[in-house]
């Protein structure tokens, strides 16, 4: 009798009463003594698919709640504190000054105080995460830890008063509690970076987050074992997307108001965060000649008459620098689909040494590099993996199904990874402040144009270098007063865009790729710069320079002094 095959079937045969079973070819049981075939068949196990079964395997042997009992009760703000700490550590590893971490810590404590989650005498009951069996003695441990921190840490801010009870804020406490979200961590980090005058701009920070060097996406996975996520409130740690530049800036701006920060420490022109230095960086990245930097700086030095800015405004140095570069290019090259090409035509035949900067050559070089880089960005975007390894389960009864779906998705992924040449998800990207690499080495995007001279587009008149291009165009600069346009994301750019000169739109696209912002956002900043440059008085009022619409050209005084 085949013991293995019949798996211990011991009924006596109906005809001969022997217990001697075998398996026929079709899988039926038959009695080996009298060849009587019975109805029983063997379960055919298809080994090829039994490899990884769909059933939930038991995770731990032993009592079911033994691991879960080790957890403790923790608050939402503790979770965010943990995430912030991880983010700060990552930035420190990337080379940021350690002072930044201190600043971040202070800001976080200030936020906790202002939102009445800690450091205050009447603390709001925030959401708590309890382990699955309610264990109440760990409650005291966390409370005492917060209290001890409050007592032991003298703050350097004179405004923080540790006995201050909640400020007079009209927001209801419940709304206040819901305000802490994942994107606020980025906003806080950005505020701390700006305060400590680190050269890491918001677009750099967001790029680091996108490439995974700074934890943000599914950051809760790095929580220690004891902090368990369960229940409805845990969806606050869900990250479905990386917030945009505009959004983080808005959140940071509102945080400044909540925290009631004083004016930011001023940034001198030697500091790398200053727009003048940033513009040098962007000029290098965009393969523009270094000689342009002087013009950008002189543009920036014009008096900044901002009448409407709320104070203290959170400065956007990166966007400002890019906008100034674009306006400078407009001043020098025209960017109206005629002037720049004519200037290039003038340059090329008279240039035996190939030392003069030609817009056409730059455009072609940059065009191919930009196209390739955008394609790579889209490919990486398509292949990015967003789903966490340990999904947040909102309701326990859905846990089984969620894990099963996860297993199915992983197995399908493995199937296709075997076929494909590269693993799923984006490859590890090298760290660099620059999006492009110009020079003669292998792997560069093209030859470098930094050393080229601008003599082709400038002329010497009265001992003063002036651009050959003597006209300047701009779209209507009056601010739109409609309600839904105030601060809305695209503004009127999508309507303007088809009628703007193509070279301008392309330059806008280039710089928005470098900064990873939307072109409409950059366009609004360019409009701001132009308003300051040209004067935003409404037509109809007396004004020395007559403002005309963009179809007309405006004569401008030759103000660029070298």
């Amino acid at each position: 009798m085949d013991e293995d095959a019949t798996a211990g079937y011991r009924e006596p045969c109906a005809q001969c009463a022997a217990v001697n079973w075998g398996i026929s070819e079709e899988g039926r049981f038959y009695c080996m003594s009298c060849h009587n075939v019975i109805e029983r068949t063997i379960e055919v196990v298809d080994l090829s698919v039994a490899g990884s079964s769909n059933r939930l395997k038991s995770i731990a042997k032993g009592p079911r709640t033994s691991k879960e009992e080790r957890g403790y009760t923790w608050l939402v703000c503790e979770g965010f504190q943990f995430i912030l700490k991880n983010q700060a550590d990552a930035l420190l590893r990337l080379g940021v000054d350690p002072n930044f971490k201190e600043v971040l810590c202070q800001m976080w404590r200030l936020y906790l105080q202002k939102s009445q989650q800690a450091y205050t005498s009447d603390r709001l009951r925030g959401s708590r995460f309890r382990p699955l069996n309610i264990d109440s003695d760990s409650d005291c441990a966390t409370e005492s830890s917060i209290v001890s921190e409050r007592e032991s840490n003298p703050s350097s801010f004179s405004e923080i008063d540790s006995d201050c009870s909640g400020s007079a804020d009209e927001r209801t406490p419940r709304r206040r509690n819901r305000l802490m979200r994942m994107r606020k961590t980025l906003a806080l980090v950005h505020l701390a970076l700006v305060w400590s005058r680190e050269a890491l701009t918001l677009s750099d920070l967001l790029r680091l987050v996108r490439d995974g060097h700074v934890p943000y996406l599914n950051a809760y996975e790095q929580f220690p074992e004891e902090m368990k996520l369960s229940g409805n409130k845990s969806s606050v740690f869900n990250t479905k997307s990386i917030p945009s530049h505009r959004l983080v800036h808005k959140v940071a701006q509102s945080l400044v108001l909540v925290l009631e920060l004083p004016a930011f420490p001023p940034i001198g022109p030697e500091n790398l965060l200053h727009p003048a230095m940033l513009s040098m960086r962007y000029l290098a990245d965009a393969n523009l000649p270094d000689g342009l930097h002087r013009w950008v700086c002189s543009l920036m030095e014009r008096p900044q008459k901002s009448k409407r800015d709320p104070s203290p405004a959170l400065p956007r140095h990166d966007v400002q620098a890019a906008a100034h570069i674009i306006v400078t290019m407009k001043l020098i090259f025209g960017l109206d689909d005629h002037t720049e090409w004519e200037l290039s035509n003038k340059v090329t035949p008279h240039d035996p040494s190939e030392n003069l900067f030609s817009f056409r050559r730059w455009f072609r070089l940059m065009g191919t590099a930009l196209g390739r880089a955008e394609q790579k960005r889209d490919r990486d975007m398509a292949r990015k993996q967003w789903k966490p390894k340990k999904p947040i389960i909102l309701r326990r009864r859905l846990a089984g199904r969620a894990m099963k779906t996860k297993r199915i998705s992983e197995q399908l992924q493995m199937c296709f990874e075997k076929l494909s040449s590269s693993p799923a998800g984006v490859q590890d990207v090298g760290l660099s402040s620059f999006r492009f690499c110009w020079g003669d080495e292998d792997g560069s995007n093209g030859p470098s144009l930094h050393h080229m001279k601008l003599d082709g587009v400038l002329s010497l008149e009265d001992d003063v270098l002036t651009p050959l291009n003597s006209s300047y165009w701009h779209p209507g600069l009056r601010r739109c007063k409609l309600m839904h346009c105030q601060g809305s994301a695209p503004g009127h750019y999508p309507e303007f865009e088809p009628s703007l000169p193509r070279s301008f739109v392309w330059v806008l696209r280039l710089f928005s790729f470098l900064l990873d912002v939307e072109p409409c956002y950059l366009f609004q900043e360019v409009l701001e710069v132009e308003r300051r440059l040209v004067g935003s008085r409404l037509p109809g009022q007396r004004n020395k320079r007559r403002l005309r619409n963009r179809t007309g050209k405006e004569e401008e005084q030759q103000e660029e002094r070298s």
């Binding site: 998705s409 992924q413 199937c415 296709f416």
Partner: protein, 422 residues
């Protein structure tokens, strides 16, 4: 799911604008959710999506692009990053995405040069058990895939498992699929029966094998009978059933089934049904009258069928007076189709019919009656000088036959169909 709500609301607003009706304008202005049926988000292009949604959208577009251009390696690369869509927790689109993922995966695996049977099997198994609504469909497709690769036994086993699947309301609402599965399982039983019969005839048959064979027949016929009662196109099933019935000598039942299939008004008109019936009757030596009747039905459906030639032979040989005329009609209708243009048999038959008709007095009138509607285009179809050159080169007998018919069919016209007399 605030972003999904926005997306859905935005799309419904867009749809309203397309409609342009009054009520939709009102709802646009107030910003209410539309009451129009919403399109499933899978087909909506929304540029302002970010993050996870944007990633999977772009991934899907890349996959689709690669598949359309048959770049299977690229499609497999992107597909490796796509299954994360299954973990999306939106219940409304979950089934949709499962189906999309399943179909794309199997399509890529069918075409990719390095794909193995095992990976196909794994895909089918995983997606089968991922949900309830798709289980039966995927089972059936898996079985087809196994059949394509010649794995009959596994296919049969899959279908048996699927047949016994029960899931409350789902299995009740999908009973059509269950019927299909049963029918295909019966077909597989038939195939195994065929194999067994073939092997059996080589060896000495002993009882258990015969019993076995009969078992398969019994299992197969249960469901085949069922499926053949409902209207539809069941060609392979009916052929297999009839073959089995003939083997066991049950001709009456076979004839019933075939008649039902061909003549029942509820079934869609199917020329093959008549062909099967005709072939069966021919095998069993039925009188010509019945054969003619069947072929008449077929003639109505498909005038250009190759059996029409046999039909016209029957008509020619019959003694009824009007039949030669009918034969003429049948042959001319056959020749209306370009596929019979160079067929010698058809033309010869036409020649014979015409000769037969000439015995009558009013043969000219009869011929003209039939050819009246064809005078415009038949010469161009058959009797141009190009045809003459071709026929005289390739098929001189055809040329002879055609030229002899020329004057009769198209009298009074000078046509270019003359050629060099051989």
């Amino acid at each position: 799911m605030a972003d999904l709500d926005d997306q859905v609301r935005d799309f419904s607003t867009v749809k309203n604008l397309d409609d342009g009706s009054d009520s939709s304008d009102r709802s646009c202005r107030k910003g209410h959710k539309s009451t129009l049926p919403l399109v499933k988000p899978l087909s909506v292009e929304m540029d302002k999506e970010t993050g996870f949604r944007r990633s999977v959208q772009m991934c899907l577009e890349h996959i689709r692009e690669a598949m359309l251009r048959h770049r299977w390696q690229e499609a497999a690369d992107y597909m490796a990053s796509y299954p994360q869509i299954l973990e999306d927790r939106n219940g409304a689109t979950a089934v949709l995405y499962k189906e999309v993922v399943w179909r794309i995966c199997t399509e890529i695996l069918h075409h990719h040069p390095r794909a193995t049977m095992e990976s196909c099997n794994i895909t089918y198994e995983r997606m089968k058990h991922s949900g309830v609504k798709l289980y039966l469909t995927i089972c059936l497709e898996h079985c087809f895939h196994l059949l394509l690769n010649g794995q009959m036994e596994e296919a049969k086993q899959q279908l048996s498992v699927a047949e016994s699947w029960r899931y409350g309301k789902e299995s009740a609402t999908q009973h059509h699929k269950v019927q299909l599965i049963q029918a295909y399982r019966s077909l597989l039983d038939y195939i195994i029966w065929c194999d067994k019969r073939r092997t059996r005839s080589k060896n000495n048959p002993f009882d258990s094998d015969h019993q076995d064979l009969h078992n398969y027949f019994r299992q197969a016929s249960v469901h085949l009978q069922e499926i053949l009662k409902s209207p539809g196109v069941w060609d392979p099933f009916i052929l297999s059933y009839v073959e089995m019935l003939e083997f066991y000598g049950d001709h009456v039942e076979a004839l019933n089934v075939l008649n039902n299939y061909a003549l029942n008004k509820r079934f869609p008109p199917n020329p093959n049904a008549h062909v099967f019936l005709y072939q069966f009757l021919k095998r069993h030596n039925t009188p010509e009258k019945k054969l003619i009747k069947v072929l008449k039905n077929l003639h109505v459906l498909v005038p250009s069928h190759e059996l029409m030639l046999e039909y016209s032979y029957f008509l020619l040989q019959s003694e009824k007076i009007g039949d030669s005329q009918k034969a003429l009609g049948v042959l001319l209708e056959m020749l209306d189709f370009a596929c019979w243009r160079s067929n010698l048999d058809v033309w010869r038959c036409l020649q014979a019919v015409v000769q037969d008709l000439r015995l009558r007095d009013d043969w000219e009138r009869i011929v003209q009656e039939q050819m009246a509607s064809r005078q415009d285009w038949w010469p161009v179809l058959h009797f141009t000088s190009f045809h003459a050159a071709k026929d005289s080169k390739e098929n001189p007998q055809l040329w002879k036959v055609k030229s002899s018919l020329l004057k009769i069919l198209c009298p009074g016209r000078t046509l270019g169909y003359s050629g060099k007399k051989r």
